[in-house]
């Protein structure tokens, strides 16, 4: 059995699907962030797979490094916001944060 591009793409696609499912169904704000991390990892895996099998060079890995940088900053900012929301509302369940609802 030869492992090719399609195998890596399938892993990336299923990982993306699980991340999407997590983002759509979770109520806990930290749980939603976990889904975002899954989606970012799936995209990064696709970049590296395409670079290895199709494009050549290192540009795919460069993009993956930027994805990791952005994911780290996103996690830091988002978790700081989650912390502040918890201090103000005593809950981070997304369906209870309804102050902005008209």
């Amino acid at each position: 059995m030869e492992i090719g591009l399609v195998h890596y793409l399938s892993v990336g696609a299923v990982l993306f699907g699980l991340g999407l499912l997590t983002v759509m169904t979770r109520k806990n704000a930290v749980g939603i962030l976990l889904g975002v991390e899954l989606i970012l990892n799936a995209a990064a895996l696709n970049f590296v797979a395409f670079e290895h099998f199709v494009a050549g060079g290192v540009s795919g890995q460069v993009f993956t490094v930027f994805i990791i940088v952005l994911a780290a900053s996103e996690a830091a900012i988002a978790l700081a916001i989650v912390l502040q929301v918890f201090r103000n509302y005593r809950s981070i369940m997304a369906d209870r944060l309804t102050s902005l609802k008209g």
Binding site: M1, I3, G4, L5, V6, L9, V11, A13, V14, L15, F16, G17, L18, G19, L20, L21, M24, T25, R26, K27, N28, V30, G31, L33, L34, G35, E37, L38, N41, L45, V48, E51, H52, F53, V54, V58, Q61, V62, T64, V65, F66, I68, V69, L70, A71, A72, S73, E74, A75, A76, I77, L79, A80, V82, L83, F86, R87, I92, M93, D95
Partner: protein, 171 residues
């Protein structure tokens, strides 16, 4: 007996997707966060099979060492002990399942029906080439990335700190 690379790929893919399944379906937010460890490690292993050794090390360092620790801190600081049993509830599962199935069908169709000009290459270390690319062709984005990290760090500190009013501050 299948070749070693196929066994490695299948094991790593199973680790990645199995842990991602726990992240998506566990009722306890702590189990979900800790299962992210398996996903990140599996992805790092897949990077190694794709000859991206520097990325594998970065994945472990940044995600497992940094992001996961941060997420665990956030979980511990925000989940109240008494509702720990169902700390990660769900809503709208059937609709989400339908949409995700649709997305996966489209992705699978694209991935299998497009004739990618792919060729199997031998696994080669690529760290030197990556470093060279960062210091020549991608120098400006690299520096911008460090500015993004700095501003994100400052922003996170400003957002997360508790505002303490000194005695001489009004209002």
């Amino acid at each position: 007996m299948p070749p070693l690379s196929a066994i490695a790929f299948l094991g790593l893919a199973a680790l990645t997707l199995g842990s991602a399944g726990i992240v998506a379906f566990s009722k306890n937010i702590i189990y979900s966060s800790l299962a992210l460890l398996g996903t990140f490690t599996g992805i790092a292993g897949l990077y190694i099979t794709l000859s991206a050794d520097f990325l594998a090390a970065t994945q472990i360092l940044v995600y497992v060492g940094g992001t996961l620790t941060l997420i665990l801190f956030a979980v511990m600081l925000t989940s109240r002990i008494e509702d720990m049993k169902v700390s990660n509830p769900r809503a709208g599962l059937p609709a989400a399942f339908g949409l995700v199935t649709l997305v996966l069908l489209v992705l699978g169709k694209v991935a299998t029906s497009t004739p990618w000009p792919s060729e199997a290459k031998p696994a080669m270390p690529s760290t030197a080439k990556l470093g060279h690319a960062f210091l020549t062709e991608y120098l400006l984005p690299f520096e911008l990335g460090s500015i993004v990290l700095l501003s994100a760090m400052v922003g996170a500190v400003v957002l997360a700190r508790r505002a303490v009013k000194r005695a001489w501050e009004k209002g």
